[in-house]
């Protein structure tokens, strides 16, 4: 039994983004986003019977969210594998809806990390095989992967910088983007080194923000306000948690998650009109372009040259401006799904990809650890 086309995203919204000010909690932002997503769908809070969330704040996130919102779900899933978790929740919600365990699923997340003291990540116990060496989590782990990719394939810092510049060009077309001023390759190269070869502008933003998605059966979706955005396929994979256990630093588990998603959806990379590739660091989209078969292994750096993933390029990537220039509230997976939904509904204004019917949304979590790929489609793609 395939899950292809069985569910649709019917509501999508961000909370307030950027810097929300002191006193607001992640639950306040989740409340904002949920209210907006339900209004977007034309549904009410009492319709929600499935609840999906992940958090670095709350150890039992669906309990905290359910209590705050006043939702008593009959199906609850707090799968936590970093920033990709919310793409995973979409797959799990689809399985739950198809199995009859719930009918209307809310997937939600938020962070208020700026007033809470800056970047806020997971707090695992110290790892005796990594902690003594003082890598800066998580940037040093991505830097190690970038160093290896440069060594094996001749990828350059200029090519990494092209990813940041393309994201900024998209962000200039998005009124909600946090960073919209001009950015050049030279600016990225000249920015403060954080963990070589990654400098400050190779790293995602540190912002507040969050979002919510409403997912229901394809059947029910047809009666709702907005054009349904169908889940055509999804796949998840993880091979490691710690960077020292990643088998090959140039190959992510996206080769598995992507293959699973493409197989379920019955499409390939050539059918993808727009791609959201989790850009916590500039090396990420390069790895994912390769692992999701948009180009051969080792050619990701060349692929992103010359504005190929920027506005007007051959493959639109991260049209919101991504985690690098739009918003990155600690975990970004929910926001990349929201942008994919808007592209397929034709709601993206200046940055709209004309005739977009198939969107790929790829989430990454941990230190290139968890990889979850979803392929979404408009009614034309069913």
């Amino acid at each position: 039994m395939s899950l292809r086309g069985k569910t649709a995203i019917v509501g999508a919204a961000e909370s307030d983004l950027g810097e929300v000010g002191s006193g607001f909690t992640p639950l306040d932002l989740i409340g904002q986003a949920t209210t907006r997503a339900l209004a977007d769908a034309g549904l009410e809070k009492k319709d929600v019977d499935g609840l999906f969330s992940a958090s670095v704040y709350y150890q039992m996130p669906t309990l905290s969210v359910g209590e705050y919102l006043g939702i008593r779900p009959r199906y609850s899933d707090a799968t936590m594998m970093g920033g990709s978790s919310f793409v995973s929740h979409l797959l799990h919600a689809t399985a739950g809806i198809e199995a009859g365990l719930c009918e209307v699923a809310l997937i939600t997340y938020a962070s208020t990390q700026l007033p809470d003291g800056g970047f806020r990540g997971v707090s695992d116990p110290p790892n005796p095989y990594e902690t003594p060496y003082g890598p800066r989590y998580p940037v040093s782990m991505y830097a190690l992967a970038a160093s290896r990719h440069m060594y094996e394939y001749g990828t350059t810092r200029e090519q990494l910088a092209e990813v940041a510049v393309a994201a900024r060009e998209w962000a200039k077309l998005n009124p909600k983007a946090f960073k919209r001023e001009d950015l050049t390759v030279e600016d990225v190269l000249a920015s403060r080194m954080i963990s070589s070869p990654l400098s400050l502008l190779d790293c995602c933003l540190v912002t507040d923000g969050g979002g919510a998605l409403i997912v229901t059966s394809a059947e029910r979706a047809k009666e709702l306000r907005k054009p349904p955005v169908y889940l055509l396929g999804a796949g998840e994979a993880h091979w490691h948690r710690n960077i020292s256990r990643m088998p090959d630093l140039t190959v992510t588990a996206a080769v598995d998650s992507g293959r699973r998603a493409y197989e379920m959806a019955g499409v390939g990379p050539k059918d993808v009109d727009v791609a959201m590739l989790y850009d916590a660091f500039t090396i990420n989209p390069i790895l994912f372009l390769e692992d999701l078969s948009f180009c051969e292994k080792g050619e990701g750096g060349t692929f992103v040259e010359g504005g190929r993933i920027a506005p007007g390029g051959e493959l639109p990537v991260n049209t919101s401006g991504g985690g690098l220039s739009y918003n990155h509230p600690g975990m970004y997976g929910l926001l990349l799904l929201i942008e994919a939904v808007r592209q397929l509904r034709g709601e993206c204004g200046e940055r709209q990809i004309e005739g977009a019917d198939v969107a790929l949304a790829h989430g990454n979590g941990g230190v290139l650890s968890s990889q979850v790929t979803a392929i979404l489609g408009s009614a034309n793609a069913l």
């Binding site: 005796p128 095989y129 990594e130 003594p132 060496y133 003082g134 890598p135 800066r136 040093s140 830097a143 190690l144 992967a145 160093s147 290896r148 060594y151 403060r192 080194m193 954080i194 963990s195 070589s196 070869p197 990654l198 960077i243 020292s244 256990r245 630093l249």
Partner: protein, 130 residues
């Protein structure tokens, strides 16, 4: 054989064995008696085949830098963090001492040395001579 598929309970916690040997100046890893995989970090079963028959081995301490980064910070010299591939077939995180952080190169041959930091043993590497 009764219980042959069950991992034998280790007599001592794997992490403790590693730390104790390191304190003696030895870098140890585990070798799987069933599939011959070199296992690191130490654990109670082989992550390749699932066998509990892991034997402690001392590494010769020779390896090659697999990946490298220099971690920068305000008001201090950058520090180096590497992944080293040991000749016995396992990989570990470490640092290269005696070389400026930003000048450590992938492919460099390196040799293990034990250090004490705040009375805790740490495995580090230095460049092989010549």
């Amino acid at each position: 054989m009764e219980g042959s598929s069950e991992a034998a309970a280790p007599v001592e916690a794997p992490a403790n064995v590693y730390q104790e040997r390191l304190r003696e100046g030895k870098l140890v890893y585990q070798d799987c008696a069933d599939c011959s995989s070199a296992v690191f970090y130490p654990r109670v079963l082989c992550p390749v085949c699932g066998s509990g028959a892991l034997e402690w081995c001392e590494s010769a301490g020779r390896g090659t830098v697999y990946a490298t980064t220099a971690v920068h910070g305000r008001n201090r010299e950058p520090r180096n963090v590497v992944l080293v591939d040991l000749d016995e077939g396992f990989r570990m995180m470490s640092r290269i001492e005696g070389t400026p952080a930003g000048e450590v190169e992938i492919g460099t041959r390196v040799r293990f040395e034990a250090r004490l930091a705040k009375d805790e043993p740490v495995a580090v590497f230095v460049r092989e001579e010549g």
